[in-house]
């Protein structure tokens, strides 16, 4: 059953149709990769379904609820969270605090609890802290121990990407959207991330939607691949099928490449 579904989704910037009548769905427990050449509308697609940009038309259904018009924080609360292509952490907050912010919608203490340090407030703070540290342990020993109290800006590039994933995971989403999680990583780190994406589904039970350019990762982890070009879906299916599709090759390499085949 589709956990996330878009019907005729449209978004244009001036005359450019970034997303053009896109029908898309993800089933529960699936890992779906969204691929396509640069400018195909992949990141815009993420921005629209997470509420950062309003769509011009179409429907976005998440577990049967229409997401159009909801604020990003409400959408996160329903259970969909994301990472960003160009890592966007809170650089001056510590590693632990970054992840604790991710739990914002799962906690509820307010100003009065903070001021009077009520029992409920202290219990919730301890719980948030524990859950944040637990989430960071998912990434092995890289983000634990003394790293908990380091500012995010001190982390290496790869660790920033890991921290961003941890922050997205902390909100206990059903669907997690990863925007190029391996961009800029070396081959060894790329393999590690690919394994982690598998673990996210198998151990944590997340449904994963992945934007990815590294075809080894796409081929390795995806249950299904959706190819976008000029905002429209041009192909869909298993990695093996999609990689043979002439329309996909044309989109990536141009018409000549198809002719030569």
């Amino acid at each position: 059953m589709a956990i996330l579904e878009t019907v005729g989704l449209t978004k244009s910037f001036g005359g450019l149709n970034a997303i053009d009548g896109l029908d898309f769905h993800v089933d529960e427990g699936e890992i779906v990769s969204v691929i396509g050449p640069n400018g195909a509308g992949k990141t815009t697609f993420f921005n629209v379904i997470t509420g950062m940009m309003p769509p011009d038309g179409g429907e976005i259904l998440f577990q049967g609820t229409d997401l159009v018009g909801l604020r990003p924080n409400q959408i996160l609360g329903l259970g969909m969270s994301r990472t960003f292509q160009n890592v966007r952490l809170f650089p001056n907050m510590t590693v632990r605090e970054n992840v604790m912010v991710g739990r914002h919608t799962r906690t509820k203490s307010g100003v009065f609890g903070a001021v009077f340090r009520t029992r409920a407030f202290r219990a919730e703070e301890a719980e948030t802290r524990r859950k944040a540290e637990e989430t960071l342990e998912f990434f092995g020993s890289r983000l634990v121990g003394y790293r908990f109290d380091q500012s995010a800006f001190m982390l290496s590039y790869a660790n920033r990407r890991r921290l961003e994933m941890a922050r997205a995971m902390a909100s206990e989403p059903q669907v997690i959207l990863l925007d190029e999680p391996t961009a800029g990583m070396n081959p060894r780190e790329t393999i590690e991330i690919a394994e982690l994406v598998g673990k996210m589904r198998d151990e944590k039970g997340f449904t994963v939607v992945l934007i990815e350019h590294d075809m080894k990762v796409v081929g390795g982890v995806s249950d299904r691949v959706v190819v976008l070009d000029h905002g429209a879906k041009i192909s869909e299916g298993s990695y093996a099928d999609v990689s043979q599709d002439p329309r996909v090759i044309e989109a990536y390499l141009g018409l000549d490449a198809t002719a030569e085949q």
Partner: protein
């Protein structure tokens, strides 16, 4: 340990020679010094500040200001270049002194040429601050020719001393500099020191310390210098050891010491007004009221990152609400409440004002937010000034006869007793700042400050986070305003102009944004000092500006930055070492092979 020693030994053979002190740089610095010295002369600072004698009869504040420039330039010019990796450590020698001499003489030459110039060409019709008095000061009353030489020689000498300081050891140099600074400060603070309760009780001590014509007596200045130098020189090592020991302690033990320190500081502060006497308590109260406002603005700007330039509006709302509700002279509606009964209404008014300003600016960020809040600040002032609302707020006549604050059997009617409500509220606001910073809401504010769209995507409700920041900031300022009204006894629209907003913002920036102790220090320095140095009033904003530029270039995080902004690279290593020591198990070994 042995391998570390060997590595260093083999490396030191290959080190490149340290770069020498650069004379061309000394020339540049000297020319900048000349410009600066001519500027403070031409804008009248030297002459105005000459009135204040620091050490009788040889040194006035004006001369300290003037000669501080070649001294500082000589010090900068003679400073050895920083030791870079792969270079040997610089050795000090005659070049440091010569560089100081170059910078000092160039500054002196600039000033000397300037004195001749104003003697030959009369430009006093354009630069009205250039007076015969100034010319006499700059030539030491020796006439133009002799004065020219004297100024050149004097400044060159001062610059040389500045450069020669680098020949001394670090410990000696620091002790000398600080001792000189403190002696001059005690001379400068004559009014302050003389007003303290201790010296008022023992007039003989005052007479021994200060000359009746103003300034420290030469003898007492020398004695003070020797005493201070001794203390600074010999206390340096024990102090450093104590700091080292404190740093080596477990976090729990550190926290315990901090708590003890806090209690001691609060206890001392509680006795301050009694020790300082009424005049200084008055100054302290003004500092306190600005501190209350600054703590509120610190939440809005420092925590939540919402640049509010119209913050004075909330201060005005608090002051006027208290005035209308308590004063018998309130034009239309005068319930004549006692202060404490009026406070809940002040809070309600503040919350409403916070919502009124906060709601329309919910979708704005950065520059746009700043401009709109600036507008709100002006709207508030003009509203209270307007004829339309005159029946309520008295227009330009304001509201007078605001009664004092009663407290059980006593009344806070003099500056010493008035300190206590301000002090209690400052402690409360500081606690609230800390409590809120370390909470779910505090994290939401910080996340919003760092990156608003991402914070929202990560679940932060931007609308409520912003409104809470504005409302809490507004209530802090409004309480400050209510105390201000009760302290002054009257409110006028002119008290609430844009300069108040700017001042509060400047003291947060200079103190350290997001840091409660920083804000307190900022209030003390930027509000307290100008109150004590009446001569400075004329140049207050010039000095604020210079200080702001200096801070932005050299220490943008403020005097006492918040923990997060202070983090430096070496702290990173300390954390790592501490953690590795606690994790002795071999299973954690893979941390070391981190891929970056």
């Amino acid at each position: 340990m042995t391998d570390v020693g060997e590595v260093t030994a083999t490396r030191s053979d290959q080190l490149l020679p340290a770069p020498e002190v650069d004379y061309r740089r000394a020339v540049r610095i000297g020319l900048v010094g000349a410009l600066a010295a001519v500027f403070v002369g031409a804008n009248g600072m030297v002459e105005v500040l000459d009135v204040r004698v620091l050490v009788y009869p040889i040194l006035s504040l004006g001369y300290v200001f003037l000669f501080g420039i070649p001294f500082g330039m000589g010090y900068l010019a003679g400073r050895p270049p920083p030791t870079l990796e792969g270079y040997a450590e610089a050795e000090v020698g005659s070049r440091n002194v010569i560089a100081g001499l170059i910078a000092g003489s160039l500054t002196g030459a600039g000033v000397a040429v300037f004195t001749v110039f104003i003697d030959v060409v009369d430009i006093s019709s354009i630069f009205i601050k250039i007076t015969p008095g100034l010319a006499e000061l700059l030539t030491f009353g020796l006439g133009t020719a002799a004065g020219f030489v004297a100024m050149l020689v004097a400044m060159a000498a001062v610059g040389t001393i500045g450069g020669a300081l680098h020949l001394l050891g670090r410990r000696l140099k620091r002790a000398l500099l600080y001792a000189t600074f403190f002696v001059l400060l005690i001379g400068l603070m004559q009014v302050v020191v003389g007003q303290t309760e201790i010296l008022r009780q023992v007039p003989a001590l005052t007479r021994a310390l200060y000359h009746p014509a103003g300034g420290l007596r030469l003898v007492s200045a020398v004695i003070l210098f020797v005493l201070l130098f001794g203390v600074l020189y010999f206390a340096e090592r024990p102090t450093r050891d104590a700091v080292q020991r404190y740093r080596g302690l477990q976090p729990e033990a550190q926290r315990r010491y901090r708590r003890i320190g806090l209690v001691v500081a609060i206890a001392i502060t509680a006795f301050l007004p009694v020790l300082l006497g009424p005049f200084l308590s008055e100054v302290l109260n003004l500092v306190g009221i600005f501190l209350l406002m600054a703590l509120g603005l610190n939440i809005v700007v420092g925590f939540a990152g919402l640049l509010d330039l119209g913050y004075v509006a909330f201060f005005a709302v608090g002051a006027y609400t208290a005035a209308v509700l308590t004063s018998p002279n309130s034009p239309t509606f005068a319930p004549e409440m006692i202060f404490w009964i009026a406070i809940p209404f002040v809070l309600i008014a503040a919350v409403l004002a916070g919502l009124v300003v906060g709601t329309p600016v919910l979708r704005m960020r950065g520059d746009y937010l700043a401009i709109v809040t600036l507008g709100f600040g002006e709207i508030a002032r003009i509203m209270f000034l307007s004829d339309a609302l005159k029946p309520w707020f008295g227009g330009a006549q304001g509201i007078v006869n605001i009664p004092d604050i009663p407290f059980g059997p006593i009344t806070f009617d003099d500056s010493v007793s008035f300190f206590y409500p301000i002090f209690a509220l400052a402690i409360l606001f500081a606690y609230l700042s800390y409590a809120l910073q370390d909470s779910r809401m505090g994290r939401a504010w910080m996340a919003m400050r760092e990156d608003e769209p991402v914070a929202e995507t990560m679940g932060v409700n931007i609308v409520s986070a912003k409104l809470w920041a504005f409302v809490i900031g507004a209530t802090f300022a409004a309480i400050g305003g209510a105390l201000f009204a009760a302290k002054i006894g009257s409110v006028f629209p002119e008290s609430f102009d844009i300069v108040v907003s700017i001042t509060v913002l400047v003291l947060i920036i200079i103190g350290g944004m997001g840091s409660v102790p920083g804000v307190a220090l900022g209030a003390l320095v930027l509000i307290g000092l100008p109150e004590l140095l009446r001569e400075f009033q004329e140049f207050k904003f010039l000095l604020y500006g210079a200080l702001l530029i200096f801070m932005m270039m050299k220490r943008p995080e403020g005097f006492i930055p918040s923990r997060r902004r202070a983090q430096e690279l070496h702290e990173d290593e300390v954390l790592q070492d501490a953690w590795i020591q606690t994790q002795k198990s071999p299973g954690q070994g893979d941390v070391g092979e981190e891929v970056t």
